[in-house]
């Protein structure tokens, strides 16, 4: 028995040349990338700042955290949820036609490719650039924020939608055809039931991400809790930043719990 195991072990594939080459390339890249690590040096003692940050985060400004007026944390969180929610809806709606254009099983190759390039370009522009563009349209505030969230969501949402469309089971549609259904019925009973859970699940997942990314909007003045958070941090008011972060963490954990439950339900049907 042990002899047989030994023999089988001796016959294992030996691809050490390949492994060695990969290792050399990876280590080489790492050494190359280490050359970029530089710092202008901290103005103060870094450890002291870290301690301040931690103590601020663990001693949040409770008055601010439970201030139920328009300036308190709860309202800012509500505003952020609303921005993320509408932003996700805007993004999901724009993504649907884009995804159908770029699905290679529906449209000719060149058009699908052009669609994909368009989606990639939309994805490359960083959020704060979009934020600035939309502030020209709507003025600063939550409205610009939700449009920015929407455009930033397009990249991921349409990518997932394309995958869902390309995975469509065409047999269902064929059998509906054989049963004598018209085009509308084929879409209603053959395509929608296959796509809807997937589309909804993607949108909910993106809503989760948008909520986390909403801080960036604050940098350009596009609403939500980002701006107060960054102001508080830049002026070293760690208790205030701690209150905002505490609110954010609670909010994200709640939303994540709910969205995971909905998505599990959606995938199980």
């Amino acid at each position: 028995m042990n002899q047989r195991i030994q023999d089988a072990y001796e016959k294992r594939p030996k691809d050490w040349v390949y492994n060695l080459m990969t290792a050399v390339i990876v280590v080489g890249l790492l050494i190359w990338s280490a050359s970029a690590v530089e710092t202008s040096g901290s103005t103060q003692d870094g450890g002291q700042i870290a301690l301040n940050v931690l103590s601020g985060i663990f001693h949040p400004d409770l008055g601010f955290l439970f201030d139920f007026t328009k300036k308190g944390v709860p309202y800012l969180m509500l505003e952020t949820v609303c921005i993320a929610f509408l932003g996700t809806i805007v993004g999901a709606i724009i993504s649907i036609p884009l995804a159908f254009i770029s699905a290679s099983n529906l449209t000719p190759k060149p058009i699908a490719f052009a669609g994909r390039i368009l989606i990639m370009m939309a994805r490359t522009i960083p959020a704060f650039v979009y934020g600035l563009m939309f502030i020209r349209v709507t003025g600063p505030g939550a409205f610009a924020g939700l449009l920015t969230m929407g455009v930033c969501s397009i990249g991921m949402i349409s990518k997932m939608y394309i995958e869902a469309i390309e995975d469509l089971d065409t047999h269902v549609i064929e059998s509906l055809d054989a049963a004598g259904c018209d085009t509308w019925q084929k879409i209603r009973y053959g395509i929608l039931p296959q796509l809807m859970p997937n589309f909804a699940s993607t949108a909910i997942y993106r809503f989760d991400i948008n909520l986390r990314d909403a801080t960036i909007l604050g940098m350009v003045g596009a609403g939500g809790f980002g701006a107060p958070l960054i102001f508080a941090m830049n002026s070293y008011r760690w208790n205030e930043a701690g209150a905002l972060l505490a609110g954010l963490i609670i909010l994200i954990l709640i939303i994540e719990y709910i969205s995971t439950r909905i998505r599990v339900k959606l995938t199980r049907g």
């Binding site: 970029a36 690590v37 040096g41 609303c82 490359t124 704060f128 409205f143 939700l146 954010l248």
Partner: protein
């Protein structure tokens, strides 16, 4: 009404009854769609009120959106020589940050998976840590890092490493939990220690997914690193921010094109590698 597990909703909206040709009765539960539609509409109405969404402004002023975009073309090609350095800084930052974060996350991910770590308390602690780290926005981590480590790429690298730690850690412990434990048990039965069994029985199963996740994370980080410059954490975001505040849009266009090409190349290579892995 036999063996239909009826919820409150079904009691209010009765299931539809069909009589089949053989005399049996079939029930179709009332669709849940109306509830979802009402919920989504209510949430949308609230959001529209709070955010001040206004279709009229959007349709009349959307042209303004393309003003800046139009100014970016034609891009200022003369600016390209200055872009190279920050661009490579961004790639280096994301590469180093992704690798450091991904490597550091492995031991913690092991402690967070129920099939490897026997102690329930440790598992829970690790999971709470991972979810707390993932809730912290990267931009906040970067801002704190610039305060602690000073302005520059080190802060960006740290921020990316922390983000990758949380992201890869979560995916890895989920992956470890779904492996086939048969090989692990067989190795233990043959007298291998727990760690030996982990190395030879679990790592080969997890490794392809782990590497694939790492590549995917790296892809995303390159794009994300562009934002980090905004808080002074080095890389291409720094010059992007600078050129935007000076309203030199042709240069901004050049930066974005360079970023686009880089992301395109990295994504293509990484997709190719990931196809080989999984």
């Amino acid at each position: 009404m036999i063996d239909l597990n009826l919820t409150l909703y079904d009691k209010i909206f009765k299931p539809k009854e069909y009589v089949l040709p053989n005399g049996k009765k079939a029930y179709k539960k009332a669709s849940r769609a109306p509830i979802y539609v009402i919920l989504i509409l209510a949430m949308s109405a609230l959001s529209v009120r709070i955010t001040g969404f206004d279709m009229k402004i959007l349709t009349t002023r959307i042209g303004q959106f393309f003003v800046i975009l139009g100014d970016m073309f034609p891009p200022n090609t003369g600016y390209m020589p200055t872009v190279w350095n920050p661009l490579f800084d961004t790639i280096k930052m994301s590469l180093l940050g992704s690798v450091v974060g991904a490597l550091l996350s492995v031991p913690f991910a092991m402690l967070a998976s129920t099939n490897v770590c026997p102690s329930k308390i440790v598992v829970t602690l690790m999971r709470v840590m991972f979810s707390l780290i993932r809730t912290l926005p990267t931009i906040v981590i970067a801002l704190v890092a610039t305060l602690i480590f000073g302005l520059g790429t080190l802060a960006g690298t740290v921020a990316i490493a922390v983000f990758s730690f949380g992201y890869i850690g979560k995916l890895t412990y989920e992956e470890i939990e779904t492996v086939d434990m048969g090989a692990f048990e067989a190795m233990q039965a043959m007298g291998a220690t727990r760690s030996q069994a982990f190395i030879s029985a679990i790592i080969p199963q997890v490794l392809p997914f782990y590497l694939s996740n790492c590549l995917f994370n790296f892809e995303g980080n390159v794009r994300y690193a562009a934002v980090l410059g905004y808080v002074g954490a080095g890389g291409i975001g720094l010059i992007l921010n600078e050129k935007i505040s000076w309203r030199e849009y042709p240069s901004v266009g050049m930066i974005l094109i360079a970023l686009f090409v880089t992301v395109f190349i990295i994504e293509s290579v990484s997709r190719m590698l990931r196809k080989k892995l999984v």
